[in-house]
């Protein structure tokens, strides 16, 4: 395997041309293009290829002037993490093609979008099944509800290929554009997030959300007359 610190093929890139085309096509099904941009227009593949290229694009500098250089144990941990995730992508792409060949006798990138959806659906189902199996093995966890992301961060390296790809597509679509995706703020515009013009704005304390607060204040003094202890 290549040294993550040095990066893969081209600078800021990990995938070869076929791998890149395959993942780009899958991402375009995860956040499809309709009358508004999807993953393809937002450049989520660029985001992911950079991420997998090594340690040079893990953390943007907080003022947006570039990227942090990782050192010490932090660098060791990220080297290990990137290596694991690369392995999942390499194997995942092979599996996409293998399933595509066996069901539709062509590589994933050559399939129609409906056929691609079928393959991704199968991959997701297999992953969810695996999840349910491992959760059922844990006492007291046999009826886990569908949870929104609450306070906890997810352990990225524990994810299977498909949920990892879905997560990275979402990250590439919605992260600050400095990471290579969310081009022209396509993601933020889609959902109406009035994000800062740049990370420098937030860093300098100029980015404020006060225009999105309530128009009227709550009269908390008056609230003292409401509600009872009973």
């Amino acid at each position: 395997m290549t040294d993550p610190q040095a990066g893969g093929g081209a600078a800021g890139a990990f995938f070869d041309a076929h791998q890149r085309a395959t993942i780009e096509a899958a991402m375009a099904r995860i956040i499809p293009t309709d009358d508004q941009p999807g993953a393809r227009e937002a450049g989520t593949i660029e985001f992911l290829d950079r991420y997998l290229s090594g340690l040079n694009f893990i953390y943007a500098k907080p003022d947006g002037s570039g990227f942090e250089k990782l050192e010490g144990k932090r660098a060791e941990a990220w080297t290990q993490r990137i290596e694991i995730i690369r392995g999942k992508y390499v194997a995942g792409i092979e599996e996409l093609d293998r399933r595509s060949q066996s069901q539709f006798s062509a590589e994933f990138v050559k399939l129609t979008t409906e056929q691609q959806d079928r393959i991704l659906d199968d991959m997701e189902r297999a992953s969810l099944q695996g999840d349910a199996d491992s959760k059922n093995a844990q006492a007291g966890a046999d009826s886990a509800p569908v949870e929104p992301a609450l306070q906890q961060t997810n352990a990225e390296i524990d994810l299977d290929f498909f949920p990892l790809l879905a997560l990275h597509t979402r990250q590439g679509f919605y992260a600050d554009p400095i990471y290579g995706g969310n081009k022209n703020r396509a993601g933020w515009k889609l959902i109406g997030f009035a994000g800062p013009e740049s990370m420098a704005e937030t860093h300098a304390g100029r980015f404020t959300t006060l225009p999105f607060f309530a128009e009227q204040q709550i009269d908390w003094e008056e609230e003292k007359n409401y509600g009872s202890k009973a």
């Binding site: 144990k73 961060t153 992260a175 109406g192 997030f193 609230e223």
Partner: protein
């Protein structure tokens, strides 16, 4: 390995420089004592923080990296523990207060005597606290005034006696706060502005808090939010008596021939081992890590771990599971405004009520859904991909918010923190292994409260409501308590009411570890107030000795 000079003995060593370690440092140094603080994490300055959801929420910029700092989890002793991020807290100067939005409600008078109120709850080790609300009240006020907490005293009808109003009025209202208030009002519930570690007016030379969207789980580049890093650490440094050493990871506390703590042995950033002697040792690593350090500190005198002759260190560990009902509305809410946690609260379900089928109750408050920033926002049941997922993002991102709860987790003897026998951290030390089985009281409370939160959303005009019930303690909240519970009886507690070890008289623990119960409210204000109380006691005793 290079030999470094052994540092001079000092009056007090505080292990940890987070919420409670920094509180204790401020109080002790301002009363003339000399303190060395050993903090395992870095000392990051505000310039190193930014508005970056990907780095902070998804890439462990401030959260502990699970590759370096894993924990393990199992539901019972006969299960194999698995690696899990259970209940993480940032490991750095300022600790969890660096990246919080700081909801700072007080506990109520009844929180300190819940056992007396509800009686025995089978399967639990529910007890009264050895201290009362009145013992803590002066220190609640001290912390609120040091931080410049924004709130409105007396609006919460369930609040205990208050000697002083909040120093700053409530923050401006968010749309989600207003909806929550509307819903409560329609149902006859009392609500109040969530007291917050943020400034609504200039205070002590600090400007008004900037209302960025990047707040919850983000450090504050402007330094305008209140935290241990922005308030207590600078206060302690000003005295000239606070020797704060970041990147110094304590591996062990040694004891002398009399069984008193002698030194803290730590590894510095260069990998060298250094021994720091002191008269008094204060642990403030968080309830999980303080218990772990005690268990790591084995000696002939304490073969089961320091101060653990009772085998109670690590037991009765309690947490808070964070869950919510989520509502979708016709009109825009912009729940990312202010970061999603400039909130309103209610204690309507907080006090024990015999008409319900569970003991205790909890604080509820409105918030964005999870972290309501573009990457991490979601709706329960949203598919992971495809046209429908995109449509849900587009339609509901700006039109949803949650009414959240932290479940009051009952203490149980076998819910505990131990050392894992297989998994080690990046420094070669055994990690904390958590054993946690949810009690049926939490399941019932979770269901009842989420159902009632859903009714508030309905009353506020939600067109769709989702209920996320709790089915186990996943450790999705940083709140941790109870591993070194305080009490009057050495047979059933690790610490006395001054949070001093029953077995080792120069050892104190001031994080959530001493809390005999978790209560149903966000605990950090109470942890800091308690650390203040204990530190004032230590300094008072020390200064009285010095005069004699």
């Amino acid at each position: 390995m290079a030999q470094k000079r052994k540092p001079d003995r000092v009056e007090v060593v505080i292990i940890g420089a987070g919420a409670t370690g920094a509180t204790a440092a401020k109080v002790l140094t301002e009363r003339g004592m000399h303190v060395v603080a050993l903090e395992r994490g870095p000392w990051r300055k505000r310039e190193s923080f930014g508005g970056d959801e990907l780095a902070n929420v998804n890439r462990y910029n401030l959260w502990p990296d699970p590759i370096l700092n894993p924990r393990t989890l199992r539901a019972s002793a006969d299960e194999e523990a698995k690696i899990n991020l259970f209940c993480p807290v940032p490991q750095m100067v300022g600790g969890g207060t660096v990246h919080w939005q700081g909801w700072l409600p007080r506990f109520t008078e009844n929180d300190f005597k819940l056992r007396s109120i509800v009686g025995h709850v089978p399967g639990t080790t529910l007890v009264d606290w050895p201290i009362s609300y009145a013992d803590l009240e002066p220190y609640y006020t001290e912390v609120e005034w040091a931080f410049g907490v924004s709130g409105a005293g007396g609006v919460n009808k369930f609040e205990g006696f208050r000697s002083k109003e909040y120093p700053c009025p409530p923050l401006p209202a968010t749309r989600y706060g207003q909806k929550f208030h509307d819903g409560c009002r329609k149902l006859g519930y009392n609500s109040f502005p969530t007291p917050m570690a943020a400034l609504s007016r200039p205070y002590n030379g600090r400007p008004v808090t900037v209302q960025s969207a990047f707040a919850q789980q983000h450090g504050d580049p402007t330094g305008t939010r209140s935290s241990a890093l922005s308030v207590f650490v600078p206060d302690a440094l000003k005295t000239g008596r606070y020797d704060l050493r970041p990147d110094c990871y304590v591996h062990e506390i040694t004891v002398d021939e009399r069984g008193r703590c002698k030194s803290a042995v730590y590894q510095d950033v260069g990998g060298d081992f250094i021994e720091q002697e002191a008269d008094i040792f204060i642990l403030s690593c968080g309830a999980i890590e303080s218990a772990r350090l005690l268990l790591l500190s084995r000696s002939g005198r304490f073969p089961r771990g320091l101060a653990n002759g009772s085998d109670l260190v690590g037991r009765n560990a309690t947490f808070h599971e964070f869950s919510a009902a989520v509502g979708v509305f016709e009109d825009p809410i912009y729940a990312w405004a202010g970061g999603g946690y400039v909130a309103a609260s209610s204690y309507q379900f907080y006090e024990h009520d015999e008409k319900r089928d569970f003991a205790g109750g909890c604080h509820i408050a409105c918030a964005g859904v999870g972290i309501p920033l573009p990457i991490n926002w979601s709706l329960p049941g949203r598919p992971a991909w495809g046209p429908q997922a995109k449509q849900i993002d587009r339609d509901f991102y700006n039109h949803s918010f949650a009414i959240a709860m932290v479940v009051h987790d009952m203490p149980q003897h076998d819910n505990r923190v131990e050392l894992d026998d297989k998994v080690k951290d990046a420094w070669g030390l055994p990690v904390a292994r958590i054993t946690n089985k949810i009690h049926e009281n939490e399941l019932k409370m979770g269901r009842w409260v989420i159902d009632h939160n859903a009714e508030i959303l309905d009353a506020a005009g939600a067109k769709n409501v989702y209920r996320v019930y709790i089915d186990r303690i996943t450790g999705n909240c940083s709140h941790q308590h109870g591993t070194t519970r305080m009490g009057n009886d050495p047979k059933s507690s690790v610490l006395n009411k001054w949070c001093q070890s029953h077995e080792v008289d120069n050892l104190f623990v001031v994080d959530g570890g001493p809390f005999p119960t978790a209560t149903g409210a966000n605990p950090t204000l109470t942890m800091m107030a308690n650390a203040w109380r204990v530190a004032a006691h230590i300094a008072g005793r020390h200064n009285a000795d010095r005069k004699q």
